[in-house]
C-alpha cells in the first residue's frame, strides 16, 4: 500500500523571462510578453507531495505542522512577494542563474524541499495560472 500526502500552498512573485546573452529583440521573439523588461507577476499555487509509511502512533505520513513549517522556511519565506530574477540566487544572472520559468522554479522548489526528513518528497506541482501547471519528481523517478 502506497500512501501519498499532498498539501497546497500559494505564493505571489514577479519575474521576467529573458536570457542575458540575447538581444532585446531575440528575447521578445522567444518569450513574447514575458520578456517585458519591467517584469510581471503570478499567484503561484504549489502542491507538495510526500510519501512514506504511516506512523502507528499518529496515523500520519508526516506531521502537517512539521511539513508546513519546512515549506514556509525553505520556499515561501524566500519566494513570496519577491522578484525572482534578482532576489533568488538560482535565477540571478550575476550568479549564473537559470531563466525563472515555472519549469525551472519547479526544479528549484523540489531541490529546496528534498532534504525534508519526516517523509520522502515525491513531487512538486506548480500552477503558474489556473491554466498552466508543471510537475517535477526529480531525475530518478519514472513519472510524476
Amino acid at each position: 500500500m502506497r500512501i501519498e500526502l499532498t498539501r497546497r500552498y500559494s505564493f505571489a512573485a514577479s519575474h521576467r523571462l529573458a536570457q542575458p546573452q540575447l538581444s532585446e529583440e531575440d528575447n521578445r521573439r522567444l518569450y513574447g510578453k514575458c520578456a517585458n523588461p519591467y517584469g510581471h507577476g503570478h499567484n503561484y499555487v504549489l502542491e507538495v507531495t510526500v510519501t512514506g509509511p504511516l506512523d502507528p502512533a499518529t496515523g500520519m505520513v508526516a506531521n502537517l505542522a512539521d511539513l508546513d513549517r519546512f515549506v514556509h522556511r525553505e520556499v515561501l519565506a524566500a519566494l513570496d512577494h519577491v522578484y525572482l530574477n534578482e532576489q533568488v540566487e538560482a535565477f540571478h544572472p550575476a550568479c549564473g542563474g537559470q531563466v525563472p520559468t515555472t519549469e525551472n522554479l519547479c526544479i528549484e522548489i523540489f531541490r529546496r524541499l528534498e532534504p525534508f526528513l519526516s517523509a520522502r518528497l515525491c513531487r512538486v506541482r506548480l500552477e503558474e495560472t489556473g491554466r498552466n501547471s508543471f510537475e517535477y519528481a526529480g531525475e530518478s523517478s519514472r513519472r510524476p
Binding site: 500500500m1 500552498y9 499518529t58
Partner: protein, 137 residues
C-alpha cells in the same frame, strides 16, 4: 487502459488523541486536532477504477452500480458520523485522512469486480489530500 473517476462527498467529525500519551504530548503533536470535543470536515472522495471498456457497452463499469456501492460502503458508513466512535473499521487507529483513505481502499477494492481499483484520493480540505494506491501498484 482507461481510468474512470467518480467523485462524492461526505461530512464527518473526528479528533486525534493517543491514549498512551500525556495530555501535553497529545497537544504538542496534534495541536487543535486533539480537542476531544471533536471537529469536522467536508470530505471529498475520488475513486479511480482502471479497466478496459467492455466491447458491447463501451463502459469500464456500470456507473450506477459504482454509485450504489459508494452509497452503501461510504455514505452509509461515514456520512454525518463521528469517526472516533461510530466506525468499527477505524477502531484502534487515529482517524487521520491517511487511515481513512486506507480504510476506504480496503472496503472498496474487493467489491469492484469490473476493472480494478486504481486510486483512492481523499480531500480533507481543498488544501490537503491523500492518495492511496493498493499493493498491486
Amino acid at each position: 487502459m482507461i481510468y474512470l473517476t467518480r467523485k462524492m462527498e461526505f461530512s464527518a467529525a473526528h479528533f486525534y488523541y493517543n491514549p498512551e500519551w500525556s495530555e501535553e504530548q497529545n497537544q504538542r503533536v496534534f495541536g487543535k486536532c486533539a480537542n476531544r470535543h471533536g471537529h469536522g470536515h467536508n470530505y471529498i472522495l475520488e475513486v479511480t477504477v482502471a479497466g478496459t471498456p467492455d466491447p458491447q457497452t463501451g463502459m469500464v463499469l456500470d456507473l450506477a452500480e459504482l454509485k450504489q456501492l459508494l452509497e452503501r460502503e461510504i455514505t452509509d458508513r461515514f456520512d454525518h458520523r463521528h469517526l472516533n466512535f461510530e466506525v468499527p473499521e477505524l477502531a484502534g487507529c487515529q482517524p487521520t485522512t491517511e487511515n481513512l483513505a486506507v480504510t476506504i481502499w480496503r472496503l472498496l477494492a474487493p467489491k469492484i469486480r469490473q476493472g480494478r481499483l486504481h486510486r483512492v484520493r481523499l480531500y480533507e480540505s481543498p488544501d490537503l489530500f491523500v492518495d492511496c494506491y493498493g499493493d498491486t501498484q
